[in-house]
């Protein structure tokens, strides 16, 4: 005799009247691994979907920064070059003393943005139409040496 008070505590009571489709547990591991592989693939695709707009955003910012840099460079480059030439001329004047006057070689060099620190610069030679070996002499003559 069963001493349990309740019918559902009786040993003969079937606790699990549920069934599963035939072969469910046998086929579940294959089905699960296939699903997991799809999950991995879609997770990677999701990552790419996330990275793509992020990369586009970074590229956009980089493009804007580059354009900005080129704009600034174009705008300020010329004055910077001129400042460099003016510095060069100042050195030139320092070297040769106070003899340089308006309209002389220094002005010419500055106007034509010639790098006078380059000995016998090609541009100088072309502009003053003299031979390279005569350039130094010409400059010295023009400032009164």
């Amino acid at each position: 005799m069963d001493n349990n008070k309740y019918i559902w505590e009786n040993d003969r009571f079937n606790k699990n009247p549920f069934k599963v489709p035939d072969g469910y547990f046998e086929g579940f591991p294959d089905r699960m691994l296939e699903l997991l592989n799809q999950e991995v693939i879609s997770a990677e695709a999701e990552k790419r979907r996330f990275i793509r707009p992020w990369m586009a955003w970074v590229s956009g910012v980089a493009a804007v920064l580059m354009l900005g840099w080129f704009g600034v460079r174009t705008y300020y480059w010329k004055p910077l070059q001129e400042v460099r030439y003016q510095e060069n001329v100042a050195m030139f004047v320092d070297f040769y003393g106070e003899e340089l006057h308006e309209g002389d070689l220094a002005g010419y060099i500055v106007d034509n943005k010639i790098d006078i620190l380059k000995p016998a610069a090609t541009e100088v030679n072309e502009l003053i139409q003299i031979e390279p070996d005569q350039a130094e002499e010409y400059i010295l003559e023009s400032i009164g040496f």
Binding site: Y6, N16, F18, K19, V20, F28
Partner: protein, 183 residues
């Protein structure tokens, strides 16, 4: 499976070359236990199948980082329980939107499930369990159906053995009262 075998299995899973093989072993070992636990909570086979899949997806994603502070089965059982609860809550929300759906009672679901072969007593039992407060329901299912020890239940639920015994006692009395009221 003892803790050292579990640790070995988890290490194999962490190695991408051995991952699928290790996971197959986990599935072979635990899928049935987890399925029946979930099935008793959600009742219908198709729902149990969905929840079991979600459970194993979570296990796959979390296993590499599993810290082994609890046993592997305890951890998986907890995930399965949470997934089943999430599913039931979502169904409850949907049910609230479709009022008075006769097929969406526990009785309706049992009757519509082609993979249910229970008698009237079982139907009554399930209806009574379904009316229990969530904690008592969980405790009753773990003790009665899964035949777990109070110590294992305490480990999984993070509650004291005394509290679990009290919950089970209350659940049994409510179920019996439900039986008596319908006789």
């Amino acid at each position: 499976m003892d803790r050292s075998n579990e640790a070995e299995l988890i290490n194999q899973f962490r190695d991408p070359a051995q991952r699928d093989r290790a996971f197959r072993m986990i599935l072979a070992k635990y899928q049935e236990k987890l399925y029946w636990h979930i099935r008793r909570m959600v009742v219908v086979h198709e729902d149990a199948d969905d929840v079991l899949q979600n459970t194993f997806i979570k296990i796959w994603k979390g296993l590499s980082g599993f810290r082994e502070t609890s046993g592997l089965f305890t951890w998986m059982y907890r995930i399965a329980t949470n997934e089943a609860i999430t599913f039931l809550k979502a169904r409850q929300r949907d049910r609230a939107m479709i009022a008075d759906d006769p097929d969406d009672t526990i009785k309706g679901r049992l009757k519509s499930d082609p993979y249910f072969d229970g008698d009237e007593v079982y139907e009554k039992l399930h209806i009574a369990i379904d009316s229990l407060p969530p904690k008592q329901k969980k405790v009753f299912q773990m003790k009665y159906f899964d035949e777990m020890t109070y110590e294992d239940m305490a480990n999984i639920l993070g509650t004291s053995v005394g509290a679990l015994k009290a919950s089970y006692f209350h659940a049994v009395h409510k179920i019996q009262a439900s039986f008596e009221s319908t006789d």
